[in-house]
Symmetry: C2
Subunit: 256 residues, 2 copies
Amino acid sequence: MPAQLKNQYVANSLRGDIRSGRYAPGAKLPTESELADHFKVSAVTIRSALAQLRSEGLIESMQGRGTFVQSRKLRSRYSRARYGRARSDRQLLSSDLEHRIVEAGRQVVPDHIAVAMEISPDTEVIARHRLLSDPVTGQIEEIGASYLPLGIAAGTYLEDPVVVPKALFLCVEELAGKTYTSARDVWRAGPPTVEQAVALGLPSGAAVVHLIHVARAQDGTILEVSESAWSATHVQIIDEYDIPEEAELPPQHSDI
Amino acid sequence: MPAQLKNQYVANSLRGDIRSGRYAPGAKLPTESELADHFKVSAVTIRSALAQLRSEGLIESMQGRGTFVQSRKLRSRYSRARYGRARSDRQLLSSDLEHRIVEAGRQVVPDHIAVAMEISPDTEVIARHRLLSDPVTGQIEEIGASYLPLGIAAGTYLEDPVVVPKALFLCVEELAGKTYTSARDVWRAGPPTVEQAVALGLPSGAAVVHLIHVARAQDGTILEVSESAWSATHVQIIDEYDIPEEAELPPQHSDI
DNA sequence: TAGTGGTCTAGACCACCGC
DNA sequence: CGGTGGTCTAGACCACTAG
């Protein structure tokens, strides 16, 4: 037991065994008491090490069954891809995830969405709450909602909790008579809400990546604000873009 | 003590007190034993609750001194802003952070960078390791490095551990005789490396947001790969963009 | 029913801080 | 030096799973 904290030593050791394939994805780790015997530390120390690996997304524990190496795969989330080929009006969302609207209709706008929509916190809006799940495993991969101004969506089919036949923004463009021209995405990592933790099946201590997406028309009108969350350890965000030849971007913060 | 786990109850209670301003930023929380007395739970349970709040970035503990409400502010990182007004060749990086090159020169490319640079893992490259810190507090806010192909940077002033007089990409463009035309950013949240944890002053259990940035010239040549990390609880990524009128984006993954 | 992880306790010792 | 957080222990009890 070198000059290192015991729980870190245990965590590092197990992490190495997992990364090296000594424990393959889906494999069952030794029980906590076996690990305690093997590393010659107390059960609490083992639990602390396992908690760390859990929060790193490397393992998953099931009460009464055991602790297993995570086999959930990493998902890529392409920033801006939602506005890609969908313009061609063809079919639905070109996602490999199964889309479900769990709730839709009028509701008072949540505070943090009110800020993004630039409206007062007690305004009503049309909200469409969605879940996206892996069609094979059934695992919920994304939870979120879209919020639309009453002026655009009230009294329309967007109040129905049904998946729309094409990309949502195309529906909104039709109903609003305006075109989506710019957007602002704000990404954050942080602790999940209770709802998110339950839906995504996150172990305690796990984090989510959270996106607030604001879409505007040419005249600056906000057409839609949407909010999404993913398990932080299972998502990566990919952003591909062209670099302008002359200064065109807003003079904001800039690193490097 | 309602129907709730004790450590969650304590964490929720303290979180509420912090958010409500009952404990202001910078304020000292009661000692662990005081909290244990107050909540009538054991010290271990208090520690578990505090560990959670620490990983959420709400508090900070200093051995021998106490536990304090975090006062570090949230930083916004604008995706793509680095290529903004810098085009005007004017001065340095328009950042409000202090830039420091801690090391520069030839080195064997790290494995994960080799993948991004599309070169074999034992190739040598020019690496420039940087730290960005808050000029007021001295707090290191970002740690990272830029990796450049030998063909571009070997034997040039980019091997010197000195901050360059203008944006790095302008230097590279001059030396390479090519223009940055496209980039791909991949963002991930995850556990920090030891080096990152030390530099950013992260408490154990904290996470980082990690960026791999790949920049290419018109002909597809990779001009630069850079890597950066921030404390996950203190950074948000902002991406502002125009939405194309017709399908232009690559037909990739798309949600919603 | 036996085995597993989940929670919690009481108490010990150490390392660091500030007086 | 006393007070603080950091680490660790041994052991108890509960909740869930599987056979």
